[in-house]
């Protein structure tokens, strides 16, 4: 009697566990089939597809691992696609930017060539065309710089430089321009030497670009340049009192091709500030901008002071 009960119970347990494992197997099989279907979709290029699993299911660790792998590849693919998209936009925008001044230039030369205007006008036209050709060359130079900066062949020559002296020399070259355009200027640069480890060409380009930017686009009549060294940092602040940049435009101004609202003059490649930022960052520095419309823009560049080692700067 006792034995019969044990037999019956053990048979019942055996049946139950068989049923349970059958159900579990069916469920797992269904999940595997679902995973196979999702993987086929991923293979066909849908990198956004995920395999879903409840946290306690048998297949969960496998599904989560696959999702991780797929996602990391998808992120990389997306980055590539975005760069491609950007380059396509860049190309379209560049061809427009080159076409308009070039067509105009041809317009002047054609008119002069066909003698459809007076002798005096003809001379003016040639002069205008010459000026436009130079503008175009300048634009193409900037473009070339930008492409070079974004390719692998770009290298910097980081050397020990006496930065206050370099800065002073850059500003001296700008004084005639400030005077010609009736822009007041104020510069504060420390008298003593400030040693830094930078590429002086790149540094010169950064400052020139920022000052040029203020002169051409801001409609300012006052520019202040302040050079300070504190807390192990070298800081250069370039402030104008021009029309400023709108708050919503500020985060994008260092992006390539970003041109602020049409009020800030159409001239310019839209690459200048992007070049400035790239050069600054390649030398370990950073650049920020602050502005309020109507109150001008302040660009702040910061370079870390290099550490000294036995009287020489660590480059």
């Amino acid at each position: 009697m006792y034995q019969e009960v044990i037999t019956a119970v053990s048979m019942l347990i055996a049946c139950l566990s068989a049923a349970a494992s059958f159900i579990a197997l069916r469920r797992a099989r269904k999940q595997v089939a679902g995973m196979a279907e999702a993987l086929a979709d991923i293979r066909n290029g849908n990198g956004n597809r995920r395999i879903l699993a409840g946290p306690h299911e048998i297949t969960a660790p496998l599904a989560y691992e696959i999702n991780d792998v797929v996602r990391s590849y998808e992120d990389r693919l997306l980055a590539v696609r975005r760069t491609e998209e950007m380059n396509k936009r860049l190309m379209t925008s560049l061809s427009h930017d080159v076409r308009t001044p070039l067509t105009t230039l041809i317009g002047y030369l054609d008119a002069a060539h066909k003698r459809i205007v007076t002798e005096k006008e003809c001379q003016d036209y040639v002069e205008t065309a010459r000026r436009k050709a130079y503008d175009l060359k300048e634009y193409i130079d900037v473009l070339f710089d930008w492409f070079k900066l974004n390719s692998d062949e770009f290298t910097m020559q980081i050397e020990e430089v006496e930065l206050s002296e370099v800065t002073r020399n850059i500003l001296i070259d700008w004084i005639p321009v400030f005077e010609e355009q009736q822009i007041e200027y104020a510069a504060s640069i420390p008298d003593g030497p400030v040693r830094a480890a930078l590429d002086s060409d790149a540094y010169t380009r950064i400052l020139n670009n920022l000052i040029q930017n203020a002169v051409t686009h801001s409609r300012a009549d006052r520019i202040e340049i302040a050079f300070t060294q504190q807390d192990g940092d070298i800081k250069i602040r370039i402030q104008d009192n021009g029309i400023g940049i709108k708050e919503e435009d500020l985060p994008q101004i260092f992006e390539r091709l970003y041109k602020c609202d049409k009020g800030r003059s159409e001239k310019g490649s839209g690459l200048g500030l992007s070049i400035v930022r790239q050069l600054t960052e390649k030398m370990g520095g950073s650049i920020t901008a602050q502005s309020r419309p109507g109150e001008g823009v302040a660009f702040m560049i910061r370079f870390p002071c290099p550490k000294e080692e036995g009287g020489k700067l660590k480059l």
Partner: protein
């Protein structure tokens, strides 16, 4: 892979005699944000409900991920994240506990899915606060977290910025943009606020009284509504010279050998045309385009505008 993530053909929903959605054919492209714009009661929510299988269409066809929705709901719906009206959260549980229930029921793509989703919307993980104590904005955030927790390919969000404060709105906007741009998700959002859609969407469908009035990319719409004068002339080089010499050099772009645009519609078109002709140019087209996006919407919705 099909080009459209969502495609509807003559989708119609009829309540009694009234058609809430009539012959709607929309096309949502992969990896883009599609904004469904319309006034309250235009049929946006009904459309979204049909796309999610929450209500059956009276007529018409819905294809999602290239497959008909009807009959494939079980396969297709888990790949969508949605925010439509308020999800059923338990008031006596915390946000994390609520999400955990959904995670077990629906499955998630990773071990840290709940924490990731809460991080994305800026809610604390394993916080003690009960759902019933949440503010309206926090409830909305939790609903968005639920919508993205399973890392879906497609998000359908009905008025996602409802109940959020201005900072929250900016955050959600940035978050939706980054989902699309950095993660390649396809997103369908609805709104009755034109400026919101203009800031966010790549493609726009304008819906009014249940019917689709226009479906166009934002770039195309902006081009349509930008203020400019368009010319088609026989020689753009001479046209450019004449503009510079005779009209003070307005801002213009040369499109190709025959087309040119002036970005200042206030210039005297008549005088420009006659100057062109006097200089021996043929002018085959001169057209002033100065309609703002707002005016444009007013026109396509039949003068009523969209508040």
């Amino acid at each position: 892979m099909s080009k459209y993530i969502i495609e509807t053909k003559n989708l119609t929903k009829q309540y009694g005699a009234a058609k809430s959605v009539a012959d709607l054919s929309i096309h949502v492209k992969r990896g883009r944000i599609y904004g469904l714009l319309g006034r309250n009661g235009a049929g946006k929510t009904t459309t979204m409900k049909m796309l999610l299988g929450l209500t059956d269409p009276t007529a018409g066809e819905i294809r999602i991920f290239g497959k008909p929705l009807h009959g494939n709901e079980k396969n297709l719906l888990p790949r969508i994240g949605s925010l439509i009206e308020a999800p059923g959260f338990y008031p006596n549980l915390t946000g994390t506990e609520n999400l955990r229930i959904f995670a077990t029921l629906r499955g998630v793509p990773g071990r840290h899915a709940i924490k990731d989703a809460l991080d994305l919307v800026g809610l604390p993980y394993r916080d003690k606060k009960l759902f019933s104590q949440y503010s309206l904005g926090m409830k909305q955030r939790l609903a968005i977290a639920l919508a993205v927790m399973h890392d879906p390919e497609l998000l359908i969000l009905d008025e996602p910025i409802n109940g959020l404060d201005p900072i929250g709105i900016a955050e959600v906007r940035a978050f939706i943009r980054s989902l699309c741009e950095e993660r390649g998700k396809t997103i369908l959002i609805s709104s009755h606020i034109l400026s919101e859609i203009a800031l966010l969407a790549d493609d726009i469908g304008i819906i009014d009284h249940g019917a689709l009035l226009e479906e166009e990319s934002l770039a195309e719409l902006e081009k349509k509504s930008s203020r400019h004068i368009r010319f088609t002339v026989s020689d753009t080089a001479q046209a450019a010279r004449i503009l510079e010499v005779g009209f003070n050099g307005p801002r213009y772009t040369v499109q190709d050998d025959r087309r040119l645009q002036i970005h200042d519609p206030d210039l005297p078109v008549g005088r420009i045309v006659s100057a062109f002709v006097k200089n021996g140019l043929e002018v085959s087209e001169a057209c002033i385009c100065e309609e703002s996006l707002e005016d444009y919407f007013k026109r396509v919705t039949g003068g009523e505008g969209i508040a």
